[in-house]
Structures are given as structure tokens and as C-alpha cells.
Point group: D2
Chain length 373, copies 4
């Protein structure tokens, strides 16, 4: 199933960058759950380009229209369809260079896959724009999780070479404060634990943009309140399901949980998280495993990071191929592009995680174990 | 769907470490494909513990019995069930410490999930032993892929702090020689590009084991011959599907494609892979993206790495919790354990990748585009 | 997955009768397939109420808007989203009786399932209106099948006690002529093999409507050109997949293939279809099995029938329950209803079959057997 | 997914009639549910051929071996694999006639689908023998349902032209007694409401068998205790999911719920089931809809019937085709065959229904509606 994700809570995504509309169908939610459209709009606003030198000049209102499944601010139990009209298409920008494959983009692979029938205007289905319905649907999932005491926060761990403080995975109380601060950031702000670093990060991104170049970064997410026991053994582990979603986000090239690649150089005695009792609950003294043991949530904060590659659309001249003429060519990209998408992708990562966790949680609730005799 | 993976080619895995048998059902293969049981046995042998100081003393013959779907060395088109009897169970080893949660293991999360009803003997369903049927099924997938000219090789990029040479992602011809050499390694050898490093790697692993400790590492995989166009947009990207499988392998805590986390500090002009024509084919001059653009294979070698954490079972005393008494306790692990599983996991990674890629390839073949008019 | 059907070609349906819009997402089609919007409109027209005494006075234009996945009259290979705005809602008609459960309808079961949160206006998600996006999507599937030489025709085998001639399942040439004639019927006509019976069928339906009552009937479908070998063994047999879809259509209460329930009283010697060679092809001398053996298409015409119950909305007073007051009550239905839906459901059945068969065919093409050596 | 059924509770079936073993993997059950192997054995016994003139002389012990997922008589929460060794294969019986397509069987369609690679010994994967693991898995599902107060009973409504009394769908108390009596029938008895008809039914079957012929029949199932609200709207209605499974059973050619095809000739005023309050519960005065409204269970007994065609294997000479020589031929079937499979299929139908209903119920429990404010 190509554009559908999920076992219990399913999301189907559709649309092309310059088509009439993009959207999604979210299915499998209980009836009676509150859906606050203002919250959805606020999450959409965090993903929106602001024309502030950090992101593309294509600024879409991205108004989300709920077509079904919600009545009087509550889920009805049936599929929630949502739609976002495309308004600011300027396909003309792409016409001059449309046969030239943009390096780092899906132009060539779309040709290879769809044989020339794909809608290639503005990247078509491969545009970062397709993350907009994921955010809208994930915003609904976030609300459902929040009602169960589960919150998710993503900050820019690094961008353009400027680092933020890391999430304090081993100190749940501090981590909770960090997460709350990050979530409270306004759509105009960069989501950082240490706001003092915002200006230097902005400056570094703008500097690259000024050179016609782009930058990458790292996004770090913390999930608080996830109950122990969520996740399925083997194929549908928490890590499997989340990474599946995270790698769906354009530009994500790496995913790690807890210490991640840092585990490679450690010994077991350094890596293991000792258990201890705390207020009648089993907790771990450290949280190197990022809240997951054997693929199942252990009740500690979930912590993971993604590597986001630099936006492939740059204004520097690039060597490429004219796909129609089948010969080497030079490309000078036109149009409106982001020198950095890391900051816009933060809310996408939060929303993708919300979808994945709600799916796993719902599966879990359908198969609650019998009480021991 | 908890223990089933796949859209077009599906694998269902079952079994517990100390139950009567473990196994799998592989469904969705064409009829008439050759299945060589000797090749399966050889792959199983690569995963087998050898009692050589690098892995557990539990040495299972791991004989794979094909129950259905194969006749006279060919697939029949129906589901292939395979079974491996468990023979060397020594559940007694676990009895003394069964209420003590082993740090880094799924003991606690299995309790949280299954309420005490789980089969916890030897780790039950969470044992690394459950990767044996994945290897058997993946070995069949490897044969199907090989018949289409697609080969997969995994080497130990690092273990116990000792590094191997990296795969030469940017140089397909050299990479092909490296991959061939790695695949040709005997089950007794470590899968390394540079065999000269084998002894120091063995020594480093044994040294940790001698201290009752364990080590982690990094596995790197290259896939050659994958045609451009394989993979689905958004949710079922090559990266999404492979990471889903890779994170299913116990102890994997990170996955990255191409430069992976190395992308975070680069600029677009450094990260993009320029296209060029080569012998009438579109290729990229570098391969930073590890063979994937926009989630779809671009025809260059696929290259990815996983972070494997140190085996959690160590002989050093550890702080933990007695789950029944609900109090802190000290654990001294008994039984037979691996000081390192990185080398045994290499073939698991190859086989997981084979399954994922065959699934994507089969989906692709069912929806081949119409010829352009 | 609640509102998604399919393995290889998937359809997700959404919407409520009185919500802003209904629609569907159709995924899994190849790129480059022709999509004729005029053909879709014509199929929609066949499902449309005409206010002619045979169907409800709610006449919707049912204009299908394609939001994605189609460009310049061809599929792009990505998900096709389509939307139909609801325009002629008159929710006021339902307000007076909204606590009174309509017998034969889903009012009570929706309450039981959704706890009162459902959108109950006009039947909500359980309205026959939800078949409109199925027709739109199925019309696309019909075009894809037609390009492969597979055609589907449904006629009204019986309605209001008036019978049409049966499809000549045993005589492929005659059946082909019958099917062509039925498919050529205009949207204003009843789909009948024998047009001479149209007037008496209309009269019988109108007579029931005039009494404030409704009628049921039988729909019979023939599929021509389906290649032998389509269908999966056991769970996804042709009969399983088609019946799954057919029973999704509101009011369908029975499905039978070939002789169906007529098999119960026969002996094997009467029931079996002897094979014979005809122009180098294996055919059956009779077609009692309706084109399916062992769940797989045998290359003969596929023939099946559904039982459609009388529209539950009748104007005669009915005994029921006031669900809010929890007491017995009498119901006098208001609003605009169909005395018969059999004739409108004919195209729905054709379109449902088109979806199911295209899904099976696509699965089949992905796993074409190897040539025999 | 070709041999897997289910959304929340999934069953994968494997095996060939003359291969080493047949079996199944049942996944998605809660941990801690009691599994009584004696009950499974008893259900298997009901499906077993007895060599009593009513069924084939191939009598298999059909001992079910549980390989995983059950420990100390309880589910562990992980996948339950079960295996039945094939012991009484006599492939030689088939050798003489193996190129001659048996009318009514899957011989030809298996060729068409698998291109000659299929295991055709004894019907291979298309043998009725493949229903044995379905019974074993369904027996586990039955136990889970029984613990929730849901029971299922199937009787032979008709066989060889001899009818049993019908289930009293409109009278729940009487129906409950009928269902209990039918379920209590020993494996040696025919499952009939009226035991006085057993001898004439046996005689009629034996008479057909004596002539080298076979007979068909009708199976009727009642489900008691299914709560209102189970089932999903549109695609996964109770009728859709059950019919999908029922048509998977070899020889089933028709499925109807409630009055089924009897609805076709009725008016809405005759067909609708009026609601009324009874002991504080909403019930229907009649049960023409067989316990389903709008695809969702309404709390009344579920009642459905299947048409079972006569066993295609008969000893009378039949016209057919030699598939290898590609010419017309005459077939004289050898081997051991059932003159009637209706009575053996009764428990298969019960078990299929148990699987389908448990799947729907589990989906339902994962998405329980919020309480109304």
C-alpha cells in the first residue's frame, strides 16, 4: 500500500505541489475525541514558509478544510478527510529547466518510476509540500495523545553548524521543562532549548542562503508520558514504526534512538540502563536506550534524532543531465526555495511521531492483556 | 499486524527461544523460482554461534525444515512455511534470576505489555534467536534477487572500537569488488573488507568478553544492481521500508543512508550528487545519497549503516529490580551469552534488506508504467 | 483498516450524507493509464436519482472533482483523490424524527458503535450516498480493465417481483451480446436484457412507492475477458474479494456465484463443468461455477448475483424506539426516499466489481510465474 | 496479501495436501487467554473424515502441534503457530490421471496461475485439507469468544435434498436452545436441529455415493451474544468480513444473511425489523436482517447461510482435457473422495466465523468511543 501508513490508525496522503489540492484521510480514531481546528492551524503555521530569508518565498495560507469525520468539534468515528487547496503555484518558474534533473531531488527517480507520466511541476508528489497534510493529520493525533497525557516536542538540535543544547534524556524532570519550552515557541521562533542561540543559527542559515547555498541539521524529539508496553515485538517495534514514518519525511537520511550511533563504541556495562524502583514504579537510572527496550516502550521518555540533509535546491550552478536530450548539461535553478528546511521540518517530525505512536497505542488498547489470576 | 511485514512479499515470524520451534511464513513469491536449500544452510551458518569466544556457547544446528511452498527446488507460488526446532534450550540457567529484570533487555517491557503471561524463558519472543527464521526467509529472498542481478553484502564497519575500511560508495567498480569479497567470507571469518583487521577485532571482542563485558559496533550494507525506480513515494520509501526492517533486528539503535548523520554539517553544494551520462545511462558522480533520491532507488549502489548496541547480557553485576518483590536488587547474569553480536547480525542485516527490497521490487513490478506514446 | 479496501489497488472512502463533501482516494494504479472524465460522469449519472417516481427527490449533480493523481487525462502513478461536494442537503427533514430509530437502517447500530458521536444527519456515513465515490473510483477502474479487454455489465435480474431474462452464463457469445446491450442502456433506462419488461418493472416499483412502500430485487453481473489465473488461493479468492466488496454496498444481503444456492440440490455429475479444447484454449462446456474454480478465474465469463433488500425508508407508519427517551414509539418517516434502489445500485455493483478485479489482477501481475524450463 | 486474513487478529495459512505439513499462524490475540488443547482436538475431530461412507477413506489423525504463543494453557500474546503433519498421503493415486483436469476442481486454474510449478499432488494448496489449520485456529478464536459470552453454532440446513429445520432467527430463546443442541452433537453425529432427520440424510448421501456421485447442501450458522456495534462501516461490514472468509472455504458458492435472497421479492414494510424496548435493551421484533443493520451487528442473533456445491470428485466418467497433450479426454477419477463434504464443512464454517468475528471485535475494542459528556 503505497500512500497509506498504519495498522490501527491509518493515514492516506494525496496531492501534488501544483495540482488543485493536497490532503489526507485519517482513519481509525475513536468517536467523541475533541478536535480543535485552531490547534491544527497553529501547527500548520509552524510548518509555513515565512519569507523571512530562512525559507521559500512561496507562502501558502495552508488552510485546512475538514471534509468528513468531525462534527461539532468532535470525531464522529468515521474517516477524517482533510484538504488544503494549492493557491500560490507558479509552475512557470519550472518550465525553463524542466528537462534538467535537479541533483539531490526526485526528478530522475520519478522519471524512472513513472516513465514520464508523473506530475513534475514543482516536484509534484515529491515536493516537501506533501508534508502539509501530514502535519494537519498529526495535529489531530497530537490532540488525542495529549488527552491521554502524552506530549511530543521537537527541537533543532543543530542547523547550519550551530548546535542547540541536547534534550536531557537521563533527567525526566529537566527534559519535561525543556520540552514544554520548545513546544511553547511561537511559529515565528526557532524551536530551541536555548533561545540564546537563535540569532546565531538564523545568521548561519542566512549566510548560506546569501551564497545561493543551503544547510542541513539534526532534529531531536522527546515524547513524554508514553506508557510502558506500547509497541509490538519484532516487525512493529516502536523504533521500526517511527523510523518508517521519519524516513518518509523528505530529506531525512538518518534516524537514531537514545545514544544511537553513539552505542557503537560503548561496552555493555556503559550502555545498559540499570532499573530501580521509584515511587512504586520501575524506572531506569539512565536512559541510553531512549525509552525503548526490545522494541517496546519502557515508560521513560522516548528520545530520537533525525539527520536532515541540506535542501537540494540551491542557486549555485550544478552539473546535471538533460533527461530528454540524454546529454550532460548545466543547471541554474530558478523559483523559490528554502536555504534550510530543518526548522520547518521540526513540526513535521512531531506530527509524524504523533501518528506513529497513536497507531501503536491503539493497537495496544485492542489487545490489552488479561489480568493475572 | 504485529508479526507480519510486507505489502507484496510478506513475512510472518513466530516462536520463542525455549519453545518447541521457531519459524516463519514467506508469502507472495512467484511460482517457479529456484530455492537452493544449501544456500539457506550457508546463510544460517553465518548467523550461528560458534563457541569461539566471540559468541554464546548455545550452539544450535538451526536446521531449516521447509514445510510448504517449495517442491523439487522451486517455489510453487503458495506460502513458504519454514521451521527450526529448538534443541539446545537450557531454561534452568534462567530460573534463578527470572524475577530480576535484565537491564537493556525486554524483560520489563514484556511484563508491561503482556502482564506476566509472556514466555520469558531465554528472552522468549524477544530473543535474538528469533532472527534465525528471518535469515532463512531472507536467504530465499536473496536468491530471488540474485536471479535478477541484485546482490547484497554486509560487512562489520566497526566492532569493539576496531574499524574496517568503509564501502567505496562513490566508486561502483571498487564497491562491487569489496562486496564480492565480503560475501565470499566463510562463516568462520568476520565479514571485513580488509581481512588484515580481523585478528585485532577478534582480540578486542575477546578482551571485553574476558572482562564479563560486551561490545557494540556498526554494520554497513551495499546493494548492487537495484534498478532505478524501486520504492514508493512518501510512506513506503526505500529508506522507510528498510529502516522498518532494520530496526526490527534486536540491538539496532540507529540507521543511516549514504552520508546519513554526516549530512547535518554539510551545505547543499557539498551534499548534492551531480548527474551525468555514462554509457547511455544516467548516473551520479558521487553517491552521498546512498542510492536513494526522494525515497526511490536511483540505480546507484544502495549504501546504509546500522548502529548495533553492545549485547545487554553481561556478567558484571548490575543494579536492577526484582519485578515480583517490587524492590531494588542486584543481578548476576548466568547462562550463555555473546560478548558481541555484531558479526552474527551481519547476515541478519543482509537478509532483512533482501526481504524489504524484494517486497518493494514486487510492488513495483505489479504497477509498471505504461509506455510513453 | 476500516474504510480502506484492497491489497494492490486500494480504495479509501470518506464522507457523510450531509457533510461538506464525500470522496475517495484510489491508489496503486500504474502511471500513464487514460482517465476519461466524461466516462466517470456517465457512470455517476447512472447512479443518480432522477426524481422520476423510482428514486428519491434529492437530486445531486454529483460532479466529481479530481484533486490529484491525474494529469492531462492520464494517471500519474500517485494516489488519485476525488471529491464530490454535497449540495442538496436538507437536514431539517430529519430533525423531527432524529431520536426515532428507523427500522432496517443503521441508526441504532451507529449509536451502539459510536456512542452518539456519529453524524446522523441523513444517515451520515451509512447513507447510500457514500456509494457515489465508489462509483467514481470504480469508473476509473473500469477504464483500466477495458484497456485490458475486460468488461463488466450488471442488469436488474428482478425488481418489485418483475424478472428480467437471466445472463446466458453457458453461452459466452450470447452473453457477450447481452452484456453489451445492458451496458449501452442510457442512464434514463433500466438496465435490462429484455427492454420489453421495462415498463412493467417501472409500474411495479411505482405502485409500491404509491403505497408508501418499497421493493427489493436481484442484480446480476457478468464479467467478460477476465484471464484464467486471476485470484489468490484461500483467503483472497475471486469470490472472497468480490463478496467483500459487494456486501459493502448498503442493502446487499446475499451474494452467489454461478448456480449459487442452486448448487445445494444438485449432484456432482450435474454440477461439474466438463472441460474441452476450443480453438487451442481450455474452456468449460457449461459454466455452472460462474467462471471460478478453486477461487481462481478459469477464463469463462464470471457471473454472480446479489440480493438487494427493499429500501428501509418507507412512508408507512412503523413501530420503533425513541433512543433518547428509551421507550417504544411510532415512526412516520419524512424526507426524500427511494421506493427502489435496485436500479441505482446496478452501476455501483459494476464499479465495486471493477475495483475488486483490478486489485486481484494487479496482485497477479506482480507475481507472474516464471516460464517453465 | 495472499494467504493472510484479518486486520486486528490475523491468520496466515500454509501447506499442501501431500507436503510435509499444513498449518497456520494466528496473531493478534491478547495475552493470558485460556487455550484448551482438548477443545481444539474435538473441533478437529468434527472435521475429520470417518470412513463411514459419508466421507473419504483418507483418515488423518490431524494432531495439532502448537509451536509458539501458548504456554501453560494460556496465550502469551505473541503469534501462535500451529502445525499438522500430513501422514496418510497416497500420491500414487493421482499419478495415473495427473494431466487430466478434474472438472469443478482447481487443477486448471492452478495451472493457469502457477504455470505448472504448483504442487498438484492431491489438489495441493487447493485441497479441502487446507481447512484443517483454519479449524485449529478458529477453535482458539471460539474459546476467546466464548469467554466473552459469544457462541457460534452451525447446522446442516440441507444436504442431498434432505432438509433440517431452520434456525428460529426471530425467536432468540428457541434459537439458543437449537444452537446449544447443535453444538453438543458428537463428532460422529450430523449437526442437525432435528436429529430425527439424521438417518434419511445419511441414506441420501450414501445413495449418491453408491452411484459414484456426490451431493451439495446448505449450512446455516447462528451467532449468539455478539454485542451491538461490532463491525466497521462500508468495507469491513460484518457481512463483508464474514463472506470474505466463508467464500474462502472450498465449495462455498453462495452466502446470505437473514432472509438473504428471500428479500428480493419482499416490500420494505415486510422486510424491516421493528425496534422495541425489552428489559431496558433495544431489540427487534423480527430478525429478517440476521442481526446486521448497515453492516454493523445490532445485538440480535447473527444468522447466515452458505451454499455448498457437490464435491467435484465423483467416480462417474467425465469429459475433460489432457492439459499436457492439449486434447479432449475422458477422466475416471481414482483415489479416496467424499460423496459429501457439507457435514465436514459445518465446523469449518463455525471456525471461519469465529476468526472473522474475533477480528472485528478486537478492532472494535481498540476504538471504543468516548463516553458522552
Amino acid at each position: 500500500m503505497k500512500n497509506t501508513f498504519g495498522s490501527s490508525v491509518c493515514l492516506t496522503i494525496f496531492g501534488e505541489s501544483h495540482g488543485p489540492a493536497i490532503g489526507a484521510v485519517l482513519d481509525g480514531l475513536c468517536a467523541g475525541l475533541p478536535v480543535d481546528e485552531a490547534f491544527i492551524a497553529r501547527q500548520m503555521d509552524k510548518r509555513r514558509a515565512r519569507g523571512d530569508g530562512l525559507s521559500t518565498g512561496r507562502t501558502e495560507a495552508d488552510q485546512v478544510r475538514l471534509l468528513s469525520g468531525v462534527l461539532n468539534g468532535r470525531t464522529t468515528g468515521t474517516a477524517i478527510a482533510l484538504m488544503i487547496e494549492n493557491k500560490a503555484q507558479r509552475s512557470g518558474d519550472y518550465a525553463k529547466t524542466q528537462d534538467l534533473l535537479r541533483p539531490g531531488h526526485a526528478d530522475f527517480t520519478a522519471y524512472a518510476k513513472y516513465g514520464g507520466w508523473q506530475d513534475s511541476r514543482g516536484g509534484g508528489h515529491f515536493s516537501g509540500r506533501i508534508t502539509a497534510p501530514l502535519v494537519a493529520a498529526g495535529a489531530i493525533c497530537q490532540q488525542v495523545l495529549a488527552a491521554k497525557g502524552i506530549t511530543i516536542a521537537t527541537h533543532i538540535r543543530a542547523a547550519a553548524g550551530v548546535e542547540d543544547l541536547p534534550f536531557a534524556a537521563d533527567e525526566p524532570a529537566l527534559l519535561a521543562r525543556q520540552a514544554a519550552a520548545v513546544s511553547a515557541a511561537s511559529p515565528e521562533q526557532l524551536a530551541l532549548i536555548d533561545p540564546a542561540r537563535e540569532e546565531s543559527m538564523r545568521a548561519a542559515i542566512r549566510a548560506a542562503g546569501a551564497e545561493g547555498d543551503s544547510v542541513g541539521g539534526i532534529l531531536e524529539t522527546a515524547v513524554l508520558g508514553l506508557p510502558a508496553g506500547v509497541g509490538e515485538p519484532f516487525f512493529d517495534s516502536v523504533e521500526s514504526v517511527l523510523s518508517h514514518l521519519l524516513f518518509s519525511i523528505p530529506a531525512v537520511k538518518g534516524v537514531e534512538f537514545g545514544l544511537g550511533f553513539g552505542f557503537a563504541g560503548l561496552r555493555g556495562s556503559q550502555a545498559n540502563d540499570p532499573f530501580r524502583m521509584e515511587a512504586g514504579r520501575v524506572v531506569t537510572a539512565t536512559n541510553h536506550n531512549g525509552g525503548v527496550n526490545g522494541g517496546i516502550a519502557n515508560g521513560m521518555p522516548l528520545v530520537f534524532r533525525t539527520a536532515v540533509k541540506p535542501t537540494p535546491s540551491i542557486y549555485k550552478p550544478q552539473q546535471t543531465v538533460d533527461y530528454v536530450a540524454k546529454r550532460d548539461a548545466q543547471l541554474q535553478i530558478q523559483g523559490r526555495h528554502d536555504p534550510c528546511i530543518v526548522h520547518r521540518a521540526a513540526v513535521v517530525q512531531t506530527c509524524a511521531a504523533a501518528l506513529g505512536l497513536l497507531d501503536l497505542l491503539t493497537t495496544c488498547e485492542g489487545t490489552r492483556s488479561q489480568k493475572e489470576d
